[in-house]
């Protein structure tokens, strides 16, 4: 299970910034995502309109989610599948274990699933003598290294090629020690060969779900490698793990969202495999699982309805927000200290594990707004982070120094005459201290702030003075 280290975000971030290997990996990777998304969006002139449509479909679904969940479950069952409703992570873990036990499972293959990380499925299965095998290439190496994903669609975002080579040499001990990985493809081929046998031997396959479709009772996975499809096709039992907000009403609704997903995520027009699963094997079918189970998970989501965080349930987990986030770009995902990093994690994590533990995350934002500007379903992420900051303040969770200074600022800000006088004094003092220079490299009492940037010297008076002057001129 992911150990929660969100309360230590500041220490985590400081360590991440000093980690040369991580900085190398982040530096290489982040430009690629931005470029590819930008190109894909440029190729589809209707992209902006589709964002509004995506937002509206999700809003409609959430406003009627009770109806759609019931319709969906009835249709899964009509197609011969089983739905397991689970309020908590504990219930979901128990449901998965029971299905695996009934199937007599020794090994379980897994497609990439963030809800599985949230629930801690792997540790739970291991503790009960069932071996989980991650089959997504990035998840596979993370499992070999006993780490956790640092990105929601690229789990090994934090690793460099040499990390892959070293881990494969260390763990694949049956292969010659001196083998050469001359290209990235050689690493891929070795993983493909290793995992083939695991796919064939598995008794149960567990995948996540990008969407659930009420109209047909289908779960959808979106992948590039084909590992998710092998996972859900070869074993006798398929379990799809899905949280309740994955729901959409119809296939046509899913089509609209699928036009947004791959473009926002990897910058592809469409992912290689978009696969719809509905029930188990039909009479006459030559392959496919005999049993199909959906573990439908709430785990805190229903509490978000009717709160200022309801819109977060629109999220389709594309990762565009973290790919475009200057904070994620420098700290990487592990610093966030739980399953979901970046701006979406900064909003979601406090709702799922508590603002007392994750209060630092909504503060780890420059409010630059890029996350909201690229979100395919237009979630107002900065506004929600501000809501968390307010709650943190109201619940007296922020440090004494922060509270005292905010209190002082509020006192001054609410008294216009005092505020104007104070800013005038400050502008004048800073102007004198500058002695003709354009910017301060350091300032007394603000060493922390100026360590990473310069403060431009104010020129031309305060805002109010300049405003008054312009008004006279007009």
């Amino acid at each position: 299970m992911v150990q929660i280290t969100s309360p230590q975000f500041k220490e985590n971030a400081a360590r991440a910034i000093g980690d040369a290997g991580l900085q190398k990996a982040l530096g290489k990777a982040k430009g690629a995502f931005l470029q590819r998304r930008g190109d894909a969006v440029a190729r589809l002139p209707e992209f902006e309109q589709l964002r509004d449509i995506g937002r509206d479909i999700k809003n409609h679904t959430l406003a009627n989610l009770d109806f759609y969940l019931e319709t969906y479950a009835a249709n899964v069952e009509a197609a011969g599948g089983t739905v397991h409703w689970c309020s908590t992570a504990e219930e979901a873990r128990a449901a998965v274990l029971e299905i695996c036990r009934k199937a007599g499972a020794k090994t379980v293959t897994k497609g990439k699933s963030m809800i599985s990380e949230e629930l801690g499925i792997n540790d739970h299965l291991e503790a009960h003598g069932i071996e989980p095998v991650e089959t997504d290439l990035g998840e596979y190496i993370i499992q070999l290294r006993r780490e956790h994903p640092s990105h929601i669609i690229a789990p090994a975002f934090h690793l460099n090629r040499e990390d892959w080579e070293n881990s494969f040499r260390e763990m694949h001990t049956d292969l010659p020690k001196d083998r050469v990985f001359s290209e990235r493809r050689d690493i891929l081929t070795e993983a493909r060969t290793k995992l083939r046998d695991r796919f064939l031997a598995a008794d149960v396959g567990i995948t996540g779900a990008n969407f659930l479709i009420a109209e047909s009772g289908s779960s959808v996975i979106v992948t590039n490698e084909g590992n998710g499809d092998l996972t859900q096709t070869l074993p006798r039992v398929h379990i799809a793990l899905a949280s309740i907000e994955k729901m959409v009403p119809t296939l046509n609704d899913a089509c609209a969202l699928l036009r947004l997903l791959a473009r926002s995520a990897t910058g592809q027009d469409f992912s290689v495999y978009t696969t719809f699963s509905t029930g188990g094997r039909r009479p006459g079918d030559l392959d496919g699982p005999e049993e199909y189970h959906v573990v439908l998970i709430d785990n805190g989501r229903s509490n978000m309805f009717g709160t200022e965080f309801q819109e977060m349930l629109r999220c389709i987990r594309c990762a565009a927000c973290m790919n475009h986030c200057p904070v994620y770009g420098i700290t990487g995902g592990h610093a966030y200290g739980w399953v979901y990093p970046g701006p979406m994690g900064s909003v979601l994590t406090p709702t799922l594990i508590g603002v007392d533990k994750a209060g630092h995350l909504p503060n780890a934002s420059t409010f630059c707004g890029r996350c909201e500007s690229v979100c395919p379903v237009k979630i107002p992420l900065p506004k929600m982070m501000r809501h968390w900051r307010e709650q943190e303040f109201e619940r007296h969770l922020s440090p004494v120094a922060v509270r005292r200074n905010l209190g002082l600022w509020a006192y001054v800000a609410q008294r216009p005459a005092l505020y104007r006088m104070a800013t005038k004094l400050a502008v004048g003092a800073l102007g004198m201290m500058a002695q003709g220079k354009g910017a301060f490299r350091s300032l007394p009492l603000a060493g922390g702030w100026t360590q990473g940037r310069d403060l431009p010297v104010p020129e031309g008076g305060t805002f109010m003075e300049r405003y008054a002057k312009t008004k006279r001129g007009a």
């Binding site: 009509a78 089509c255 039909r282 229903s302 509490n303």
Partner: protein
């Protein structure tokens, strides 16, 4: 029970009880009407251009296409592709009547079995249900004549597709499936599995750099049969 707990928590948050009958009826009508949303202009073009767009998109996604004038040319196209790729003339084929009816005996060196795929199969020949021009995507639904493993286990997958089965957007392909199929279990139209496949398998997990040939096929080849006079290049 967890089901009731979840539904009630959602309703509490939405500040309402279970939906009244008239609102349920509205939502049920929406499910039946399944409104279409914006369809991008790129695929709303004349038939010959839709086919061209499909081919261009398959190739952009690292697949390949051979266009043949007649179904009888398919065995020759398969033989030629395998020889070009230096592959042995051996494959596993979908037990689909249209494929089984082809004049395979014209190409006596081709060896094949009709069944699901096994891990040892190097080449598979699948029957394509539909093609989607918008992104060069194949629609491959599962049924007894189209096993899913053919799309996954072989290193090379060849898909035979008729040009008349190419649609512009995804929505049109779903409508085809809706109109043509009835499921023996649910009575609806959805088969157990529908794969939308766009190019061969790949991964960018190593340093976010794209490599082809992850767990699925390394090569995806489409043999397109020109059975649609309206789709021929003018």
């Amino acid at each position: 029970m967890s089901k009731e707990a979840i539904l009630n928590a959602i309703r509490r948050g939405l500040k309402r009880g279970p939906l009244p009958a008239d609102q349920r009826a509205m939502l049920e009508a929406r499910l039946l009407a399944r409104p279409r949303h914006l369809i991008p202009a790129r695929s709303r073009v004349p038939r010959p251009d839709q086919i061209k767009l499909f081919i261009a998109n398959v190739e952009k996604e690292f697949g390949s296409v051979t266009r043949v004038a007649d179904a009888d040319d398919i065995p020759g196209a398969v033989a030629e592709y395998l020889s070009q790729q230096n592959l042995a003339p051996r494959f596993v084929m979908a037990p689909h009547p249209e494929l089984q009816a082809l004049p395979w005996s014209d190409r006596a060196m081709l060896e094949f079995e009709t069944r699901r795929a096994e891990a040892s199969d190097l080449v598979s020949v699948q029957h394509g249900y539909a093609g989607i021009a918008e992104t060069g995507t194949l629609m491959l639904p599962s049924d007894p004549a189209r096993p899913t493993t053919l799309n996954l286990l072989a290193e090379t997958e060849i898909v035979v597709l008729r040009a008349s089965r190419i649609t512009g957007p995804y929505e049109d392909a779903w409508d085809m499936l809706r109109a043509e199929r009835q499921d023996p279990i649910s009575g609806g139209f959805m088969p157990r599995n529908v794969m939308l496949v766009t190019g061969p398998s790949r991964s960018a997990d190593i340093e976010q750099t794209l490599e082809l040939g992850a767990h699925g096929p390394r090569r995806l080849h489409v043999i397109l049969v020109d059975d649609d006079p309206a789709a021929l290049p003018g």
